[in-house]
Symmetry: C2
DNA sequence: GAATGTATCTCGTCC
DNA sequence: GGACGAGGTACATTC
């Protein structure tokens, strides 16, 4: 990894065109050839970048560019698309290289899969008499998160999200439409379960006869722990 | 901006829990207090990070940690949420600070707004006799990108996307449903226009009687330039 | 490789 | 400040 702090301007042409006026920035050159341009604020996202696979070539500035103060011209070209990033360097303030070696990568824990697992174990949260049929119930257009039955024995399709957005309601609607054509399942009612449900999503769901359930992740995890301790 | 290359392990607890095993990484400390942890590959996204506003405190490692090889313990706490990032530093390989100053920011060009403006100007691309009624036609559930009339004088709602995905078809469907309840507009037909239309989106649109139109951005811009030159 | 769904999404904009 | 939509979304997983 090479770290360069430089006064530079940057131009990108690809899926859009973008320009960064002359200023001091960090140029991050990774060993896979990728390049990131970071400013001193606005975390997370680089101001501009090129994803691998890509090739960096250092060009000599022409006379006009040299007159404008450009000392080095970096051309970063994407290998597959026609995307191009051009960095015009006016002054290098720092330049160092470092051997980092391979990174073992991030270990995550605590996402939608957890919510699904917990709700499957605590399906009675949806109401008395609810029974789990199975998780990831397969349909022609994809898996429904949870298929269950209610107290009356009717089928219930459950879509689980961390954040309940309008997209999730649309997704569940497509599943319900399809499943209600299957005489072995129909009628199938829908439950939209999420840690947080946006007002628009709730309105749309209610309008379509889909029940909304807000999940308390911490409480469910607590129940899970209690369950672990008891058995 | 402070650049630290160090052998370290990282733990994050917040919206999820995550752990990075011991390895060499770049720690990027920005002047707004934010921290980014980058590896030497996988461009763009940091392995882990903390967004501003946040506070960094350097702690002394306790005996057990010191025995495990930890020389410095960095605690980065989010000021608003309870998110916490803990960086256990075993060895510092590089440490430098740089004054970057303010960044003028990115200037963009070539997004959805452009496509909308161009198509409004060149509405005849949809077919002979098409006339623009207005851009951003307001409905109860949001603005339709373009409202037009076809050669027969019938209303046409146009949804424009850079990438035509299934979501866009759903969005247009909702608009059409609503607009067709308005006797002053009905019947309203739909056009789904995008630079690129995904097969699934095309299938769904066609199934719902929505016409798909692929837009050639470069050609439209060319027409626009020609238009500018002529008038 | 294409398609699909998630994200500690991030980031703008509009109300 | 919250909601909503777009992103050069990026990224993992599945088909």
């Amino acid at each position: 990894m090479r770290l360069v702090v430089a006064r530079c301007s940057v131009d990108y042409a690809g899926r859009l065109s973008a320009h960064l006026p002359l200023a001091n920035r960090l140029l991050l050159l990774k060993s896979d050839g990728s390049v990131l341009v970071h400013s001193d604020s606005l975390s997370y996202k680089p101001l501009n970048w090129m994803s691998p696979p890509c090739v960096l070539t250092v060009l000599e500035p022409d006379e006009a560019q040299r007159d404008a103060g450009v000392t080095e011209l970096w051309k970063v070209a994407q290998a597959k698309t026609a995307d191009l990033l051009v960095i015009s360097i006016h002054e290098v303030l720092h330049d160092s290289s470092h051997e980092l070696g391979h990174d073992p990568g991030l270990q995550k824990d605590g996402v939608e899969a957890d919510l699904q697992k917990l709700l499957a174990e605590q399906i009675e949260l949806l109401g008395e008499g609810y029974r789990l049929v199975r998780r990831e119930y397969m349909t022609a257009i994809g898996p429904v998160d949870i298929l269950a039955t209610d107290a009356a024995g009717g089928s219930v399709a459950v879509e689980i999200k961390r954040r309940g957005d309008i997209d999730g309601v649309e997704q569940l609607t497509r599943y319900l439409e399809l499943m209600n054509r299957d005489p072995r399942l129909a009628p199938v009612s829908g439950v939209f379960a999420a840690q947080e449900i946006k007002p628009q999503a709730r309105t749309l769901a209610t309008d379509r006869g889909i029940r909304c359930v807000v999940l308390d992740y911490d409480a469910m995890r607590g129940m899970d722990d209690a369950h672990q301790r008891l058995f």
